[in-house]
């Protein structure tokens, strides 16, 4: 079913025969995906996978077997979906480039540990299918595939995922309440200690709880230049400034640092926002994009019904990426 649009693209004859009936589904203008010479998609993806090791390790340490199970389900479902959609387009499944595995891991780590198995499967299929394959595969997607999958299941199964999903213990907004089976890892309440947030001894989605693990992995990515350092830097700076304006120097024990170390802020800054396909290419563009995400996250956290906003902030800024790219094209030497 999902091949319909892509078939047209692959087969010019059919597309031509179909002309006059509007553009095919895949004819979406998307930003060019440039990779610096010497850098292959595969190497970049392996870097991301390596960087995710501490995060995944922290998840397994804190949440034990359910975390392993979650990642296994997402990996299997994403790779299967990737293979299926590639075969439907009569392509060889590009499993070796590692991009599906990265999507799978990021999706798994962004879901709460209580997520039922079917949410992981549906999320994976939505991520690869709707998020990537429908747009024409890797490099053509407008939105971060993992976040598309996550948004799909978060909206669909809000009740089932809300329990531990992106709790923001001290935010002024209601957290979703439900007794979770994770009593051992229950959040420490409103006055969550900075140290707990930093190390990850709080409730939340798998990958987001440990700020330390996210920082280690994220810095590795930036040093290896597999992630554009400007994006997380701008995002954290913007979010930090807004958090400072909001909280002053810590009203009721909830400071700007709490904002930065809680929820998916760091995980999002280093692993989600930096997706090279759906983020801008120019240095200035990357700063605008990162700052936009940081500001939107804070707006959503402070003013909306959702306790956390990284997912929606990233998706919204993804939509602006082509525009940001256009605005910030560097003037060539001698140009005006």
């Amino acid at each position: 079913m999902k091949t319909s649009g892509m078939k047209n693209k692959d087969n010019d004859k059919t597309a031509a025969a179909n002309a006059g009936f509007g553009p095919a589904l895949t004819e979406v203008a998307s930003s060019p995906h440039l990779v610096e010479s010497g850098r292959t998609t595969r190497r970049m993806m392996i870097d991301v996978l390596l960087a995710l090791v501490p995060v995944a390790g922290a998840a397994v340490y804190f949440f034990r077997w359910p975390a392993v199970r979650q990642m296994a389900i997402c990996l299997a479902a994403c790779l299967a979906a990737e293979a299926l959609f590639a075969l439907m387009r009569r392509h060889r499944p590009p499993l070796a480039d590692g991009s599906a595995a990265v999507t799978a891991l990021i999706l798994a780590l962004s879901l709460p540990v209580t997520a039922p198995w079917y949410t992981a499967v549906i999320g994976s299929v939505a991520a690869i299918g709707v998020g990537k394959a429908l747009f024409g595969g890797l490099g053509m997607n407008l939105f971060n595939p993992a976040m598309v999958g996550r948004a799909f299941v978060m909206i669909s199964f809000a009740g089932a995922l809300g329990a531990a999903g992106y709790q923001d213990p001290g935010s002024s907004i209601d957290v979703m309440t439900q007794a979770t089976p994770l009593t051992a890892f229950q959040q420490s309440g409103v006055s969550a200690g900075l140290a707990d947030l930093f190390l990850g001894r709080t409730n939340g989605s798998l990958g987001e709880t440990s700020a330390l693990a996210c920082l280690i992995g994220g810095l590795f990515l930036c040093i290896r230049r597999s992630a554009a350092w400007r994006i997380p830097a701008a995002m954290l700076a913007a979010a930090g400034i807004i958090a400072l304006l909001d909280t002053g120097l810590g009203v009721e024990g909830w400071t700007a640092a709490h904002h930065l170390f809680s929820g998916a802020m760091l995980f999002g800054a280093f692993f989600i926002a930096t997706d090279p396909v759906s983020s801008p290419l120019t240095p200035l563009g990357q700063i605008i994009y990162g700052a936009g995400i940081g500001a939107l996250v804070m707006v959503i956290r402070l003013f909306s019904g959702y306790p956390e906003g990284v997912m929606f902030a990233v998706l919204l800024m993804n939509a602006l990426t082509p525009l940001i790219n256009r605005w910030t094209i560097p003037t060539p030497f001698g140009g005006q």
Partner: protein
């Protein structure tokens, strides 16, 4: 180019020139009322009533129409029958009328109807015009029902409000929300394109 006959008009409206999947008309209503089958069927019936009445009326007075006033007369005719449909629903199907809210009055601006008045009813006799109206509105209803069938069963596990899937079915809430309309419509549209592309576009030549 010869003028299509009544039978041709009727058949074309259902699939080859389906108003939603081939002409991409009436999408506002298509996206808005298809989160359950009851609304979709009611909407389809309301459009059928309005389109048949409007086409018949326009066809009867077609010899009196001049180019510069025809749109005014089409709109007048359509608005009248839409109001009648709206009142009928409010009187006899009050819950549906409430559920569909503004989308019944909005049939007035549904392009399918003015398009059929212009393309067929203003040029051909009453019989052909009615056949055309029936074909087009059946095509529209078919599109609405196909979307609603997918959305309702995934979103609530039900069809026409009756449980079809076991109670353990996790409702895909997104499917009954607006994003689900866009996703489902996009995928079904892709499917329709794929099917017609596979047939080699023979009848499109």
């Amino acid at each position: 180019m010869s003028t299509p006959s009544a039978a041709q008009r009727f058949v074309r409206g259902i699939l080859p020139e389906n108003p939603v999947y081939r002409q991409m008309l009436g999408l506002c209503a298509t996206l808005a009322v298809t989160n359950n089958l009851k609304s979709a069927v009611t909407m389809g019936a309301a459009v059928l009533f309005v389109l048949v009445c409007a086409n018949l009326m326009v066809s009867l007075i077609r010899h009196w129409l001049t180019p510069h006033l025809r749109i005014v007369i089409f709109t007048l005719t359509i608005a009248t029958f839409v109001t009648v449909a709206d009142r009928l629903l409010a009187a006899f199907l009050y819950p549906m009328s409430k559920a569909l809210g503004p989308y019944i009055p909005l049939i007035i601006v549904n392009c399918i109807i003015i398009c059929r008045c212009e393309v067929c009813a203003a040029k051909q006799g009453p019989l052909t015009a009615v056949a055309d109206a029936l074909g087009q509105s059946l095509g529209f209803a078919l599109a609405l029902v196909s979307l609603a069938a997918v959305r309702e069963i995934l979103g609530t596990g039900m069809w026409f409000g009756f449980r079809v899937l076991p109670a353990a079915w996790p409702d895909w809430v997104i499917m009954v929300l607006p994003p689900g309309a866009f996703l489902t419509f996009g995928l079904l549209l892709g499917l329709a394109n794929w099917i017609s592309a596979r047939r080699g576009g023979k009848e499109e030549a």
